[in-house]
Amino acid sequence: MPEESLPHLEVRRLGRVPYGEALTLQEELVARRRAGEIPDQLLLLEHPPVITLGTSSRTHHVLLSSQALADRGIELFKVGRGGDVTYHGPGQLVGYPILALDPDRRDLHRYLRDLEETLIRALGAFGISGAREPGLTGVWVPEGKVAAIGVRVSSGWITSHGFALNVQPDLTHFQAIVPCGIHDRPVTSMGALLGRPLEVEEVVPGVVRAFQEVFRRKADVV
């Protein structure tokens, strides 16, 4: 397919956005995407420290009291996406694709695998061999989990929520939770794997490129 004929994808670089605001924005964009007012979107951003609970979350996977979380400046949110407990914070590239899934890709597992593929390709550009773990959605390296995924599909096969790639977050913040309810597997980051400081900015182009390839979209960065 010639590149010109690929559907457009608006990539929005939003910087650091509080979780609640990003949530509202996604809801609005989902409605507008469903109504056909906008093309597919890929929101790229970072969150201030926040712990989110998916619909299948167990509160005991949050290991600190709400007071202790507040003391550390970590917010707590309960949200309508799949998955268990997740931490987001600075140094983590968060991606929220608002896509109308193509008819041949209306398969929830296919969508999860496509997101994993995107991140695996993006990591590959840095010489990191990310992999899938059967039954454990996300992207893994032998040292642990490097990217988390949790998505929502709304009426009309419109996606929201998405992925969180650990570029170089404060890994000690993850100690406040049992990530995704998985006790015995640590969390790691690209910076830790590469052994050098890494900015979120450096990772964005690779993620956008991989996203275009996997989802067959032509990106306009707005």
Partner: protein, 465 residues
Amino acid sequence: MARIEVPMPQMGESIAEGTVSRWLKQVGDAVQRDEPLLEISTDKVDAEIPSPSGGVLVEIRVQEGATVEVGTVVAFVDTDATASAAPAPAAEPLASAPESPPPAPTMALVLELPPQPVDSESSSPAGGGDTAEERLRTRSTPVVRKIAQEAGVDLAEVAGSGHAGRVTKQDILGYIEAGRGKGAAPSEPPPPKTPALSSPPAPPPAASPGAPSDLWKAFYGQVQHPEFPVRPADRVEPMDKIRRLTAEHMVMAKRVAPHVHSFIEIDFTRVDQLRIAHKARWAQQGAKVSFTAFVAWACSRVLREFPTVNGTISGNNLLYRGNVNVGIAVDLDPGLIVPVIHDADELGLVGIAKRIADLADRARTRRLNPEEIQGATFSITNPGMLGTLVGMPIIPKGTSAILGTGVIEKRVVVVEDSLTGADAIAIRKRSLFSLGYDHRIVDGADAARFLARLKEVMESFPEDA
């Protein structure tokens, strides 16, 4: 009237079931075509399910938290109830379903469901285009594939009775139980949803001396908990993982092992004296030695003398454990977990006390490692902690006995004066202990001897333990 079924949609080829996470409409609510009716969740994904038609939601069949197979009817929408209402909004592009059935029905197809009732016995259209082999490979849940893998069964050998020829958990378990050579009868209907405990005596685990862990694995997921009607003021909450495992474990443990309980009363005078005498010394060692630590120490020593109590029945064999690993029930309120003191018989009293404190602390903060809740050969539970006289605990799977300790309280007892030999009335700290044991392997007299020996050790507790 046009009562339209709302089935659990197929949200992906490898997705065989979904959990109803939230009803967005309640019975009696008007809904428009394509308006979100409910939310379902599968691993890592939440999805909204739109109403297949405009009308009124007249029945909810599947409550929040329940997991059902694809194709199961979750609700009914009555289209006549709003027949005079405004026409349904134009369908979204996705409603233009392909002419021929795709390999798996998608949400698009759900929207296109014909308004006539669907025969609820027949499954949704079988996948066109797939070979049977592909179906078997792709259309089974991870659970089924895991069971098959662990039992060394090729799924292609198992005929599927599920949606689109999929191999269900019942299919694979039935196949394994029937012995793979003979082949299971996949066309058999799944077991009726009857209360596990009221069903006729369950057949004992297959007599073949298979790996015991596989047998137990096969039990999981077989327990059908009966359902009860929900009344208006009730609250329905799905079981979390600990509760589900506990529920299955309790049903299966009670079903497999014939339980008998015997009781003995223990005098705690000696233990109390030791606690007071050594309290300061133990504190210097950083230990607080609880009554439970004394009981665990005593059990670990006595267990070595009673191999059947420290063993289990496995297939047609008696399995005597080579280690003494004592599980200690820890109340999580809600929930319970049983961390294990491995090789308790090699630890001194203070060592056991420290281990219990550490395990209990990490149990409450959910920081136990998986191996720390596995491998118990005997268990202790302490209902007396909350004042209960004593309990009759269920024997954990793979073991043959559990000790329940009752409240320790001052009681009036008749004692013999050691000098004069005359009877006298005294006030003593005492507690009732109950031993729950698997009567297949532990005879009543063995249990009595075990309890008598435990009493002897507790009442003449060694100074240097």
